[in-house]
């Protein structure tokens, strides 16, 4: 496969989003500023999603899944952009999540006087990075894509330039990201030094060929994991997340908590499971400990939160812990057998988590229009004021807690539990079981507020001033609600991706087999 037109066709989704970003940028330069470019942005995201669907379901897609390859077309080709099932599912998730964030932003951007052109430009750039990250086939592409996800993020967080909290949040986020990027880069350079390769398949072959675990390679792997642990806000590298979420505009916080986190996870999966698989004995236990710490600290601190966004921030830290659980099975004796399924479990959890968490953020955005402080007590009387929003939030919280009727969350947790037990990390399953109980405590505290009487409603006229929820925000809420209900009734919608992802990871193409010295053990 020679570099050429087909390459761009294969890499269509990120290219479409990048072009949309250019269009949005040019549009914002017009002398008479048009309305915020919500429609072009959504159109670009939709086109990219259609492209992803075409790659997944049409026979044509089979030929256009790899791009920017080295070497001959037969076995042994190494590609920098390669879209397997894992990639396509994550790209679809990123695009859907971004579309919901755009809907949430449609009203928030003009109301908070954020510069519309820049906002959507930055958002699209970040989405482009997330799409590329999901398809990254070499270490450099992964790193660059990861930075492309994060860099616009700082600006998005700090866009409210008259707000001191926003500035602090952006600075915290920036410093943490730069440090984590540096750590990751150092780790990657050590891996490169040990294997002499940057393509993921070649790195795996190189690590496997060396037989023993080289200390340099092991250190490189550990540092890379640490770098990504910052991105996905795993404890003890999580401290930036609550401040950043609380200081950012709410739709941006939702974006960071869901889309950006999903991108971090797909990067982590590609590195660990594809490239560093021969060193699973090194990173498996590390991930297990990170998972246990992350969920426990996240849940315990969330117990003490009084503001909705901070609670969601800490709960998303805890969910990152659940998401890490399946990856830790690599540490077990027969981890290789179940690792593919385990990655599938993480992806299923990501899909369910995205729907329910974006839903909770959508309701929080609606409430913050009336009560900007967005404390848990501001949700009092919501069941009376806005019964549908209250019912939706109660449902999302039940799903986050994993209790019926929020069955989607329960199914996602069952999948993760099953992966952990199948991979012989039963202790982690028990830690997680206890954690779900802790988590329920704070979701309940929040949920119970919805049905309490609001003392401020007795003040004459205060309830009359309730602003109407704008239509795009209602649409965002509706989409997430439909998705969460659908995943509750038909969990197979999400679960069906597991076999494809598992097959893609358990039977990797053996591109460099001709060059490897020792076969994979």
């Amino acid at each position: 496969m020679t570099p050429g037109v087909t390459d761009l066709l294969a890499a269509g989704p990120p290219v479409v989003v990048a072009l949309t970003a250019v269009v949005v940028l040019l549009g914002s330069l017009l002398p008479r500023r048009p309305r915020p470019p919500v429609v072009p942005t959504l159109a670009g995201l939709t086109l990219a999603a259609v492209w992803v669907a075409a790659q997944a379901w049409t026979p044509l897609g089979r030929e256009t899944r790899q791009a920017f390859c080295l070497g001959p077309a037969e076995a042994g080709v190494l590609c920098s952009y390669s879209a397997g099932d894992l990639t396509l599912v994550l790209q679809a998730l990123v695009l859907a999540g971004a579309a919901v964030v755009v809907l949430m932003s449609a009203a928030a951007v003009p109301e908070q006087r954020l510069p519309a052109g820049e906002f959507y430009l930055l958002l699209l750039c970040s989405v482009c990075g997330a799409l590329t990250l999901a398809a990254g086939g070499d270490l450099i592409t992964l790193l660059v894509a990861l930075e492309l996800v994060s860099l616009p993020g700082f600006a998005l967080v700090g866009l409210r330039n008259r707000d001191a909290r926003a500035g602090e949040a952006a600075l915290t986020f920036f410093l943490v990201s730069v440090v984590s990027a540096a750590v990751t880069l150092f780790g990657i350079s050590l891996v490169y030094g040990a294997t002499g390769a940057v393509h993921l398949d070649a790195v795996r072959a190189g690590l496997a060929a060396s037989g023993t675990v080289a200390p340099m390679a092991a250190l490189g792997v550990v540092l890379t994991v640490v770098g990504f642990a910052f991105k996905v806000a795993a404890v003890p590298f999580h401290f930036w997340a609550p401040d950043t979420y609380a200081g950012a505009p709410l739709p941006v916080a939702a974006y960071l908590a869901v889309v950006s986190k999903a991108a971090g996870f797909v990067g982590l999966i590609l590195l660990l499971v594809v490239a560093f698989r021969p060193l699973a004995a090194v990173w498996g236990p590390l991930v297990a400990v990170l998972a246990a710490l992350t969920m426990t600290v996240g849940n315990l601190v969330a117990l003490r939160q009084r503001a909705a966004v901070r609670l969601l921030a800490w709960s998303s830290v805890a969910h990152a812990g659940y998401l890490l659980v399946p990856l830790s099975v690599a540490a077990s004796a027969d981890g290789r057998r179940v690792l593919g399924e385990a990655v599938g479990a993480t992806v299923v959890y990501l899909v369910v988590y995205a729907a329910m968490n974006l839903g909770a953020f959508a309701v929080a955005t609606a409430v913050s229009r009336r009560r900007p402080a967005n404390l848990l007590t501001d949700y009092r009387g919501l069941a009376r004021r806005a019964p549908l929003q209250a019912a939706a939030l109660a449902f999302f919280l039940a799903a986050l807690a994993g209790l019926p009727p929020g069955l989607s969350g329960l199914f996602a947790k069952i999948v993760v539990f099953r992966a952990a037990l199948d991979g012989d990390v039963a202790w982690l399953a028990l830690v997680m079981a206890v954690n779900t109980v802790v988590a329920l405590a704070y979701y309940l505290t929040w949920g119970a507020q919805l049905f309490r009487a609001d003392p401020q409603d007795d003040v004459v006229g205060s309830s009359a001033a309730a602003p109407v929820t704008p239509r795009p925000l209602r649409l965002a809420l509706g989409c997430t609600l439909v998705a969460t209900v659908a995943l509750s009734v038909l969990p197979q919608l999400a679960l069906q991706v597991i076999p494809g992802i598992s097959a893609g990871l358990d039977e990797p193409p053996q591109p460099v087999a001709a060059r490897t010295v020792a076969p994979l053990r």
Partner: protein, 501 residues
């Protein structure tokens, strides 16, 4: 494929969704009526299931429905009834209907009947589903489904300490059931099936002894919290005494039974080696619970709390019966389950009635003289109390007698001496139980001329008879003709235990 059981679940669920959609004053006005009609229809359906049930072969799963739901999890919508679950299904349907009849006249503050009825109906779905499910994950989903509605009923309509009582209830029981889920998944991963009938048939084949013991420990912990077993019972007194009457009745009447039902249906037959090893512990905790429950009851000053604690003692008998792993013990446990549901349901209704008349359930406030002031009410209270203490001829007697009988000769391999000691403790417990219930009667029902001079109270009204009489009648029927129930449970229990008829 039989749609009867599916309809049993779909009907209350549909009514619950209908009520959720019926906003505005019309919804509030019609809520209780809709609920009453629905639950009456559910009771009729469950009686239809009894009619369709082949009582000649109660050990066989009947009226089965088996539909695929989620192949990725191996989860199937598999429902069925046998002699173990059928009585519990009818009990659930009956108590729900009685609760809704009670709500017609006695809506607990702060009103809002639409929400309360919708929650009670959702609770009914969860309870019925738990007793009907034949798939481990499906069972678990229904087992968890009751948590949020019961939490909301206590937190929304309960007494002064409702908030913390409700939170304690849900967190405790979730902690138990989260561990249960881990146990279920271990069973699934070891055997590759979630089908409860098939797992029971295999009787632990395919699982090593260690796996069985650990899985039993995990599964039984969750059920023990729900039952509740001493020392995991601490959520119960608060939840029962703070809940509104309908909540207490459903909690004590059918919700606790989910735990013991799970032990009989899943833990014991699916993990027999684990059960064999841990049964003495189960029996010990049960026996301690009997003594502990009755001693604590003796010290109570509040009638509702006393009835709540009495559940710990009564469920101790159930646990002891299960721990013997004998047909007699398990039959006794299942009988005591139903009897306790009827009697304690009645007692909580009566306590609610006293609260309406006196404004409190504190024994000191109640004073004496109920026989003189409201003779029929007093008589009914005396009837419920003596039924609860296990007077022969009433329902409370047979279950506890059979449980102790089972402990006299426990299954082979269990330490007989230990179980004899448990039996002696249980015997002592029956005496203490009689002591506190007679104390209640002496303090509340009997009294001096001065008590009678406080004037008459409104006696049992027609609508109260409507809700209470069915329970009293059933207590008598089961006490006089225990075979109606034992004939159903005995063959099923023998099949579950894998012993011949």
């Amino acid at each position: 494929m039989n749609v009867l059981l599916l309809a049993l679940l779909a009907l209350p669920l549909a009514a619950c969704l209908l009520l959720a959609a019926l906003r505005g004053p019309a919804g509030e006005r019609w809520a209780v009526t809709v609920g009453t009609i629905t639950s009456a229809a559910v009771l009729l359906l469950s009686l239809g299931a009894v009619r369709a049930f082949d009582t000649a072969a109660p050990q066989r799963m009947q009226l089965e429905t088996d539909l695929g739901w989620t192949s990725g999890l191996g989860l199937r919508l598999h429902l069925g009834v046998d002699g173990v679950s059928l009585p519990l299904v009818v009990l659930t349907a009956l108590l729900t209907l009685l609760c809704l009849l009670h709500l017609r006249r006695h809506l607990p503050p702060p009103g809002r009947p639409r929400a309360l009825v919708a929650l009670v109906l959702l609770l009914e779905v969860g309870l019925l589903g738990t007793y009907l499910a034949l798939d481990l994950l499906l069972f678990f989903i229904f087992f968890e489904l009751v948590l949020i509605p019961m939490y909301a009923v206590i937190a929304g309509w309960g007494g002064a300490g409702r908030g913390s009582a409700a939170t304690k209830f849900i967190l405790y029981t979730l902690l138990g059931s989260a561990v249960t889920l881990v146990g279920f998944l271990v069973v699934f991963l070891q055997t590759g099936t979630l089908d409860m009938v098939e797992l029971a048939d295999r009787g632990g084949a395919g699982m090593s002894r260690t796996v069985q013991v650990l899985a039993f420990l995990a599964v039984a912990t969750g059920f023990a919290v729900k039952t509740p077993m001493w020392p995991l019972h601490t959520w119960l007194p608060d939840a029962h005494s703070e809940a509104p009457t309908v909540g207490s009745v459903l909690l004590a009447g059918v919700l606790l039974k989910m735990g013991t039902y799970g032990l009989v249906r899943i833990a014991v037959p699916v993990l027999p080696e684990g059960a064999q090893l841990l049964a003495p512990w189960l029996g010990a905790f049960g026996a301690v619970g009997i003594i502990y429950g009755s001693l604590v009851c003796l010290a109570q000053t509040d009638l509702k709390r006393l009835v709540a604690y009495s559940s710990v003692g009564h469920m101790g008998f159930v646990l002891l019966g299960i721990a013997t792993l004998t047909p007699a013990g398990l039959n006794g446990a299942l009988f005591a389950n139903i009897a306790h549901g009827l009697i304690t349901g009645l007692l909580f209704f009566l306590a609610g009635g006293l609260k309406e008349r006196y404004g409190s359930t504190d024994l000191a406030v109640l004073g004496g003289g109920l026989y003189a002031r409201a003779p029929r009410f007093g008589g009914l209270l005396a009837f419920a109390a003596v039924a609860s203490l296990g007077l022969p001829g009433l329902a409370g007697f047979w279950g506890e007698m059979l449980a102790m009988f089972g402990a006299y000769r426990p299954a082979a391999g269990l330490p007989r001496g230990l179980f004899l000691a448990f039996m002696a403790l249980a015997g002592l417990g029956t005496v203490l139980t009689a002591a506190y219930l007679l104390m209640v009667l002496r303090r509340v029902a009997q009294g001096s001329a001065a008590d009678a001079a406080r004037g008459p109270l409104p006696d049992v009204a027609a609508h109260e008879w409507l809700a209470w009489a069915p329970l009293a009648v059933l207590v008598m029927v089961l006490g006089l003709w225990p075979r109606t129930l034992l004939g159903l449970t005995d063959p099923a229990v023998r099949t579950l235990l894998g012993v011949g008829p």
